[in-house]
């Protein structure tokens, strides 16, 4: 177990260094990286100073070493658009993105858990079939379009909820639905199949024989055990939602990491883009690592030997 944990952590670190390498290569692809890092009106001395600070006048491995060293300290340079350290800007926007991703996850679970359980209990029934159609549509309909439709129908036509910005719960609802939309289908199908397995198991049959009410059997005993595969998926989907939030944040003018990065791309504020991409890779790797390590706790039958 210990060996496994250490190995997974090492793999995670390799992945993060790899992600930094991709960022570094992207920076180099643009030709002169200094042109990206300095504001438009920088003079020739600024260029020369920046070049030597980054080791760009030295052979190739060195610049990456310096970049890596700075990156590990969270230093991606100054945003010239906002005149503040790029990573600090991104970290300030992170709570808004986490809030949105959490809300999206809650929405997905609120829909997927009842749908999955009822599809398994009434297998082949109307809910099961509706779930299947929903699953097909869910994969084909992009979340940002759901967002636009929600704005059109709920915010513009019915005027029930605000369409833009961050504030109280009413602001959170529509973007959370748009973001949480995608994983619902997969979560429902996963829960359905694990519920089907468990409902046929001996101990459920036993509980039925004892005469426990069916509702308690399904919702209390079976669901608790069927949640294990879903619980492991939750982390992965949460990590994916942080990436998916990029587009949803733009649709709803949500002041999070994604919208900041998109705006930085248009402003050619490359330090901010770098910081945002690296932070989302780190969060993604960390969440996936936690999920892998928690398998053993969620389902004690899985052992990492």
């Amino acid at each position: 177990m210990k060996v496994y944990v250490l190995k997974r952590i090492a793999q995670g670190l390799v992945a993060i260094v790899g992600a930094l390498l991709i960022v570094f290569v992207a920076q180099r692809l643009s030709g002169d990286p200094v042109a990206l890092m300095l504001p438009m009106d920088a003079g020739e001395e600024d260029f020369a100073a920046m070049r030597s600070a980054l080791g760009l006048d030295k052979p190739l491995p060195l610049p990456f070493g310096i970049f890596l060293g700075n990156a590990l300290q969270g230093d991606f340079g100054q945003s010239y658009q906002w005149n503040a350290p790029a990573m600090q800007l991104i970290l300030e926007r992170l709570p808004a993105t986490l809030e949105l991703a959490m809300a999206g996850l809650v929405f997905a679970l609120l829909l997927a858990v009842p749908l999955g359980v009822l599809s398994a209990v009434h297998r082949g029934g109307a809910i099961d079939r509706a779930g299947k159609i929903f699953a097909m549509l869910g994969q084909a309909v992009p979340g940002f379009w759901i967002g636009l439709l929600l704005i059109l129908f709920i915010a513009v036509e019915l005027q029930w909820l605000p369409a833009f910005g961050r504030g109280d719960l009413s602001h959170l609802l529509l973007p959370a639905i748009a973001l949480g939309w995608y994983p619902v289908a997969a979560m429902t199908r996963t829960l359905r199949s694990s519920m089907l397995d468990i409902l046929e198991s001996d101990y459920i049959r036993m509980e039925r024989a004892i005469g426990l009410p069916e509702r308690a059997i399904v919702w209390r005993y079976a669901l608790r055990n069927a949640m294990a595969p879903l619980a492991t998926m939750i982390g992965v989907y949460f990590a994916n939602m942080l990436g998916g939030a990029f587009v949803i944040e733009v649709v709803f003018a949500w002041p999070g990491v994604g919208r900041t990065v998109v705006e930085a791309v248009f402003a050619r504020d490359f330090p901010v883009v770098q910081a945002g991409v690296v932070l989302s890779a780190v969060v993604f790797v960390a969440v996936n690592l936690l999920v892998d390590l928690s398998y053993g706790f969620i389902d004690p039958r899985i052992r990492h030997d």
């Binding site: 992945a15 992207a26 159609i133 097909m136 084909a140 379009w145 439709l149 998109v262 991409v277 993604f284």
Partner: protein, 299 residues
């Protein structure tokens, strides 16, 4: 007791009917999905000849005409016009062309790269496998949308950049599955015999491995077509993908967003096109998978 809701068996039958019609029954050929996909491809091939108007033709006098069935609509513009009086139907057709071309290039290139690297990793094993597998891990540790932002910030926007970004995020999918497939293929007798007979390694790859991978690659490619279209639409919606004057469904949604309060058709119709194209290719892909590769129903 009065029953006001739809009786259950009837509702069930309706849903079953709807599902079967979309999916083509249990295992049957999905006719509806295939014809939608064929329509998208036909628009891609013959778009300029089918379209009633030129996609970029501006006619301010006709601006914001609603679809033909709405009050104020005109049969000249079946799906209405946008704020510049450009015909939506013609733009949808032009967008199909761009989406299909981008998706085809992206799929062929990422499929080729993924297949070659996956074959090498599975066949040679050892250091090669370790290197390629690590590369896949690294690639998969950066979520694809932030990765796209990164390259959108440094590369000139347009079709080539979109294809590059899609290839970058999608090749791992092919590589992983091909690698797994080759791991089992290389243990088979015909590969061992070819090796003993002294067949050169590239020839083993092309003559003996590749033909056995064609089915799975075809299935993966079809299943990816839809996902690539959605990805491209997302990028273009953000303004980082296909650039005007080229037409893309995602770009149409971004334009329509500014008129969401006055012209509902500008944001519904391009979305329906994206959904239909993606749904159709997923269903045809599912059918291909079940037909050619019944073992792998999981992917």
């Amino acid at each position: 007791m009065t029953e006001t809701t739809l009786p259950r068996p009837l509702l069930g039958r309706l849903l079953r009917g709807a599902a079967a019609r979309i999916r083509g029954g249990e295992g049957g050929f999905p006719w509806l999905a295939a014809s939608v996909l064929a329509t998208v491809l036909a628009c891609a091939l013959f778009g300029p000849w089918i379209a009633p108007h030129e996609a970029g033709a501006i006619s301010l006098a006709d601006a914001m005409t609603p679809p033909a069935w709405e009050e104020g609509g005109s049969s000249e513009f079946l799906l209405g016009t946008d704020n510049l009086g450009r015909d939506i139907l013609s733009r949808i057709i032009a967008g199909a062309r761009v989406s299909a071309v981008v998706a085809l290039y992206a799929i062929v290139i990422s499929g080729l790269i993924g297949a070659v690297l996956g074959m090498a990793a599975g066949y040679f094993g050892g250091v090669v496998d370790a290197l390629i597998s690590r590369l896949i891990d690294i690639q998969m540790s950066v979520p694809s949308i932030p990765l796209a932002m990164l390259f959108a910030a440094v590369l000139p926007p347009g079709e080539a950049m979109v294809i590059f970004i899609i290839v970058l995020s999608y090749w791992t999918w092919y590589a992983r599955i091909v690698r797994g497939e080759v791991l089992s293929l290389r243990e088979r007798d015909f590969i061992a015999l070819a090796k003993i007979a002294g067949v050169a390694t590239p020839v083993i790859f092309i003559r003996h491995l590749a033909p056995n991978l064609l089915n799975i690659l075809l299935v993966l490619a079809t299943l990816q077509f839809g996902s690539v279209i959605v990805f491209e639409a997302g990028l273009s919606f953000l303004g980082l993908g296909i650039q005007p004057p080229q037409v893309s469904w995602g770009g149409m949604l971004a334009d329509g967003r500014n008129f969401i309060e006055v012209a509902w058709w500008l944001i519904t119709i391009p979305g329906i096109a994206i959904m239909a194209a993606c749904l159709a290719s997923n269903l045809v892909g599912d059918w291909l998978r079940d037909t050619f590769d019944p073992v792998r129903r999981q992917i």
